[in-house]
Symmetry: C2
Subunit: 582 residues, 2 copies
C-alpha cells in the first residue's frame, strides 16, 4: 500500500479521554476512532491487525476441529427467558422491539442460540462431540465503557461452544481449547497467564480458566504464587483459612472478659479507630451490611482485609449483591453507618474464617458512636456460616503449596474457557440419546476470546515512548519502505522497485511515498510500529539501503538493495521457524 | 474435514415456509437455519461458502485500491437526524435506547458514519480520493422477510464509500468499482446484468446501476432490449413517450363531441368496463388517487398500463407515497372508488404522456356509477404535469435505440453502485480545501453487495433436481471423497490416504467417513454440490477410483488412484486459467 493514498489519519496529540496507553496509541496511530462512548470505527491499519488476529484465531480453532458458524446478533428475547438470563443479565443486555413489537436482544454472547440450534439438529451420541465457533460482533451496554478497545460496547469476539456426550469428552475438548488458546496468545506475542476463575453469571458446574495478559494497566487482579504454579484471579483466589499471625489468637479465650461497650464518637472507619484508639487493623472486626437480592446480610471480615463480593454472592447463591445504604443500615443496626457489629444483630451473618479464628476483637456496638471490645466469635455472635469471604493479599501464604508467597499483579482478560455442564442444555432442551438408549442433556463448554481487545492488550505490552511495536504475525504490514527524499529520483525509483518486488513476493509492504520531511516519516513509522523498516537514502548511490528493526534497540544496518528482498524473506522465515519450535 | 464429525444437518423434507429454491436447498443441505423471521444462523457449510464469497469480494476490492475498515452497527440516532434519514427511513430502521436513554439505530447502511468520519479526518484535496469498504452485518427490519437469505433482516453486506475532490475522480472510482463488481460476480459464476436504476431514498445526483442476477424467482423486473444493450430495472425503465398504436389517437380532436356522462352501475374496474361495455383497455383513462406525503394527488395512466410509483414519487419529490383509501377518494371525488376521473377534479394532476397523447377516452365521472366518454386531454382537464408515470411492458419499443423490443425478465439485486454527489457530505460537513484554496464538499459514491444474498442468488442459478451445484471458487469444499463401503478396509484406507494427500496439497476436501449406505452418501453429496466427487469402491483392487463432476451430466470416469491428486490439481488449475483469461 502506498502511504500517500492510505487512510491513516495519525495525530500528534494524545486524546484527552484516553487513559490507557493502548487507547492513546490506537487513536494517535490512526487505527481507531470513537463514534460514541465505547463504540469505535476500526480504520484501515486497525482492520489489518484485526484481520491478522482473526486469521490466527481461525487457524488455531480449525486446528482443534472446531467448525465455523455465524450466528445472529438479533436474538428473540424468549430464548433468553428460557435460559433465565433475560432477567439476570441486567442493563448490559441491549433490548429492542421489531416493527411487530416482538422483543429481541442484541447478543452479548451466544449460549442460548447455539444450544437451541444444536439441540434441534443433534439427537444421538453418534454426532457428538461437536465444537462450533464464530468470530462475530457482540454488544454489551457496559456501565462504564473505557480504555478504547479494552472495554467497549460493541466488539469482535471469538466464541466457541462444545457439546459432548460425557464429561470425559468435555475434558478433552477443554484441554484442546486450552492448548489452542496458548498458541493463539503466543502467536500474538503476549505474555499471559491462565488462571483459575469464578464462573460468575454464565454459570456452569465444571472448571473455568481466564487467560490474562500481564499489564500494569489491566483492570483485573491476578494472584500468583512465588513457589508453585498456582494462579487465580482475585475473585476466585482462595484465602488460606486460619490467619497466620493476624488477630489476637495467641490469647486463650477463657481469660477474655465479657464484651464491653465503649464510647467512640465519630470513629466510623477502620482508619479512624486505628488512629484514634491506637488499635491494630487486625484486631478489628469489620461488619459490612449488604443487600443480597434485596435481603439484608452482614458479612464479617478482619479489619485489615477487604471483602470479596463474588465469594459472598456465591455463598448466598445471590443474583445481585449491593452494599446497603445508610437508611438500610440504620434500620437493621439502629445506628449510623460505621457502628454496625455482629453482636445481637438480626440478619444473616457470614463470618470470614479469619474472623472466626480470632480470640476476640473490637466491633461496632450497633449504637451510634459506640463500639464493643472483647467480642469473642462463637460466644458473642453465632458462627453458623463461616467461609472465605475476603480478597487475598500480596505476601500471604499460597493456599495451594502452603510454601510460596502470593503476589498480586494486574492483568487484562483476553480469553476465558468454561465447563458449562448441563446448565444451558437442560433449560433449552439440548438432549440426546446415549449409547445405552438413555435420553440425557448434552455436556457443554464455552470458550471466548476478545478479538478486538487483543489489539489493545498487545499494545499494552508492546510499545515504547515513540509508539507501537507490532509482533510480526499481527503487524498491519511486515515491511515499511521509506525513501529519504521524495524529490530524489534515484531514491524514489529504488524504493518503488523494492516495494514492488516485496509485494510480488507476497510480503505486505507499506511505501511512504508522501512528500513529507524525513523526520515526519520516521516519527509516523515509529508510531505505527511496522517490524522492519528499510530506509532508502543517499547510500543508494552505492546500491545500499538501511535496515532497522522497530524496537530492538539496535542501530540501523547498511545492506545492499539487491539483497533486501532476500533479507526480508530470511527474517520472516526465521520468525516462523522460531514459532514452530516454541 | 471428516463428515462423521461435521455439523452438517441435512434434511429430506422441504421446509414448509421455503418458497424460493435457494431457500429450500440451503435449509435441506444444512447450510442455514432460521432463528426468527428473516434472521438466520449460518452453519459450517454455509459459513465456508460465505468465507469464500468474502475472500473474492475482499480481493477484488483491494485490487481497486479500496481500504478495509470495520464500522459500528450501533450508530447514534443524532447522526441520522443530521442526514435527515432518521425520519425518512421508516420502520425498516431498527431503533433502540442504551442504558443512559440515548437513542441509537442499528446500521442498515453506513453513509452517515463514514461521511462523518472522513469529514473529520480529511481536510485537503491531497488526501483524496479515498475509498473505504467493509464486510459487515447490516440490520433492516423488512416488512416481509422471505426467501431465506434473499430478503432477511440481518445480513452480511459489503459496502464501500468513495470520497473525491471532483466528479471526474468519482467517475474513475465508479468505473473501477463497476469493473470489480463484474469480476466478483463472474468469479461467483453468476449470470448477471448491470442495469440503470433509480436512486431511491439513498438519493444522489449522479448515475446509479444495479447488478441483477438473472433468475425466474427474482423479486425485481429487469427490462432489456432485444437490439441494443439497454438494460434498466422496472422502477427506472423509461417509457418511449407517445404511444405507438394505443388509444384513439387516429381520430382528429376537432370532431370529438363534448364529454358526456353515462350510467355504469357497478363497473368499478378497468376489467368491469371492458367486459361490461366492450371497450378496449387502451381507450380508458385510469385515475389513481394517491397521498404523497399526506397530500392527495391524482395520476392518470392509460387503462392498459400500470402505474410506476417510483416515477410518481420522484416527480413529486415525495418521501412517502400511498394509495388513498376509499374515504379519501370519496372526499376528493365525491364518489365511490372506481369512479374517479380528471374532469373537474380538485387535486394535483399528473398525466402520463400516453394519456396526454390520446385524442379522447373514457374516464370516471367523479359520481358513483357514472363515467364520462369523449374526455379530451387538454380540453377537459389540464395538461400541466405531463410525464412518464407508468411501467414499461414486454414488447414495447426500446426507448434507447427505438428499434429493439423491450423484454422483461426477473432478477435478484446482488449489487448496487451509486454516484451520491454531495448529498451526505453537505449535510454531515465532509468538506475539504481544493487546490485553489476553496472549501468544498466532497463528491461521494457508494457501492454495495449483498454478500449473504449472493449465496442464494448463486443457488437460484446453479442447482438441479438433486441439489446445489457450487461454482468452484465458492464451493464449501473442492473435492468430496466417498468410500463405497465403510466396512471395506482397503477402500477406507485408500480414501483416507487420498484425503490426507489432497489436504496436504492445500485442497479443501470432505471425506465421507460415515457408516451410511452408499445411496445416502451419494444423495447427500448431490445435495451439497461439491464440484469434484471421487468414489473409492471395488475398483480399488485394480488401484482405480471413480471421478465425477457434479452437474456436468457426464458419466463417472475411472482413474488411477495414484493419479487422482494430480487430476484434481490440473482440474483446479484449468479453472483458474479460464478465469484469468475471461
Amino acid at each position: 500500500m502506498r502511504q500517500q493514498a492510505a487512510f491513516m489519519p495519525t495525530m500528534r496529540e494524545v486524546p484527552a479521554d484516553a487513559e490507557a496507553i493502548s487507547h492513546q496509541w490506537l487513536v494517535k496511530g490512526g487505527f481507531i476512532r470513537q463514534l460514541s462512548a465505547g463504540v469505535y470505527s476500526i480504520l484501515p491499519l486497525g482492520r489489518r491487525v484485526l484481520r491478522n488476529a482473526e486469521r490466527i484465531v481461525r487457524e488455531e480453532m480449525e486446528g482443534t476441529g472446531a467448525q465455523e458458524v455465524l450466528l445472529p446478533a438479533m436474538q428473540p428475547a424468549d430464548l433468553w427467558r428460557q435460559s433465565g438470563r433475560y432477567e439476570v443479565y441486567g442493563p448490559e443486555l441491549i433490548r429492542l422491539r421489531d416493527r411487530g413489537d416482538r422483543e429481541f436482544v442484541l447478543g452479548p454472547t451466544h449460549e442460548e442460540v447455539i444450544t437451541a440450534l444444536v439441540g434441534q439438529e443433534i439427537s444421538t451420541y453418534r454426532k457428538l462431540p461437536v465444537t462450533l465457533y464464530q468470530i462475530q460482533t457482540k454488544f454489551r451496554d457496559e456501565r462504564r465503557p473505557r480504555f478504547g478497545l479494552l472495554r467497549s460496547r460493541e466488539f469482535v469476539m471469538k466464541d466457541a461452544y462444545s457439546f459432548s456426550a460425557d464429561w470425559e469428552s468435555l475434558d478433552a475438548v477443554y484441554r484442546a481449547m486450552y492448548g489452542a488458546y496458548h498458541r493463539i496468545f503466543e502467536r500474538c506475542g503476549l505474555e499471559f497467564r491462565a488462571v483459575e476463575a469464578d464462573a460468575g453469571a454464565i454459570g456452569g458446574e465444571g472448571g473455568t480458566h481466564e487467560f490474562m495478559a500481564i499489564a500494569a494497566s489491566g483492570e483485573d487482579d491476578v494472584v500468583t504464587c512465588s513457589h508453585c504454579d498456582y494462579a487465580a484471579n482475585m475473585e476466585k483466589a482462595a484465602g488460606r483459612g486460619v490467619a497466620a499471625g493476624g488477630g489476637t489468637t495467641a490469647v486463650s479465650r477463657d481469660t477474655i472478659p465479657a464484651a464491653e461497650k465503649f464510647h467512640t464518637p465519630g470513629l466510623r472507619s477502620i482508619e479512624d479507630l486505628v488512629t484514634g484508639l491506637g488499635l491494630r487493623t487486625s484486631e478489628l472486626i469489620k461488619t459490612l451490611i449488604y443487600l443480597a437480592d434485596g435481603k439484608p446480610v452482614a458479612v464479617l471480615v478482619r479489619g485489615d482485609r477487604t471483602l470479596n463480593e463474588t465469594k459472598v454472592k456465591n455463598a448466598l447463591d445471590a443474583m445481585e449483591l449491593e452494599l446497603a445504604d445508610s437508611a438500610v443500615v440504620a434500620g437493621i443496626t439502629g445506628a449510623a453507618t460505621g457502628f454496625a457489629g455482629p453482636v445481637g444483630l438480626n440478619a444473616t451473618l457470614l463470618v470470614d474464617e479469619e474472623v472466626a479464628a480470632m480470640a476476640h476483637g473490637v466491633a461496632g456496638a450497633n449504637a451510634t458512636d459506640y463500639h464493643l471490645k472483647h467480642v469473642v466469635p462463637g460466644r458473642d455472635f453465632p458462627l453458623e456460616r463461616i467461609g472465605d469471604y475476603r480478597n487475598v493479599e500480596e505476601g500471604e501464604a499460597c493456599p495451594n503449596c502452603l510454601e510460596g508467597m502470593l503476589r498480586v499483579i494486574r492483568g487484562i482478560e483476553i480469553g476465558h474457557v468454561f465447563k458449562l455442564g448441563t446448565k444451558y442444555s437442560e433449560k433449552l432442551g439440548a438432549r440426546f440419546v446415549d449409547a445405552s438408549g438413555e435420553n440425557r442433556p448434552m455436556i457443554m463448554g464455552c470458550y471466548g476470546i476478545g478479538v478486538t481487545r487483543l489489539l489493545s492488550a498487545v499494545i499494552e505490552q508492546h510499545h515504547d515512548a515513540n509508539g507501537m511495536l507490532w509482533p510480526v504475525e499481527l503487524a498491519p504490514f511486515q515491511v515499511h519502505v521509506i525513501p529519504v527524499s521524495h524529490q530524489d529520483e534515484a531514491q524514489m525509483a529504488a524504493a518503488e522497485r523494492l516495494y514492488e518486488q516485496l509485494r510480488a513476493d507476497g510480503i505486505e509492504t507499506l511505501l511512504d511515498d508522501r512528500g513529507e520531511r524525513l523526520g515526519v516519516k520516521l516519527k509516523d513509522a515509529d508510531l505505527i510500529g511496522i517490524p522492519i523498516r528499510i530506509v532508502v537514502g543517499k547510500g543508494i548511490a552505492e546500491g545500499e539501503v538501511e535496515w532497522k528493526e522497530r524496537g530492538n534497540g539496535e542501530p540501523a544496518e547498511r545492506l545492499a538493495l539487491a539483497d533486501a528482498g532476500a533479507a526480508v524473506r530470511r527474517w520472516l522465515e526465521d520468525r516462523r521457524a522460531r514459532r514452530r519450535k516454541s
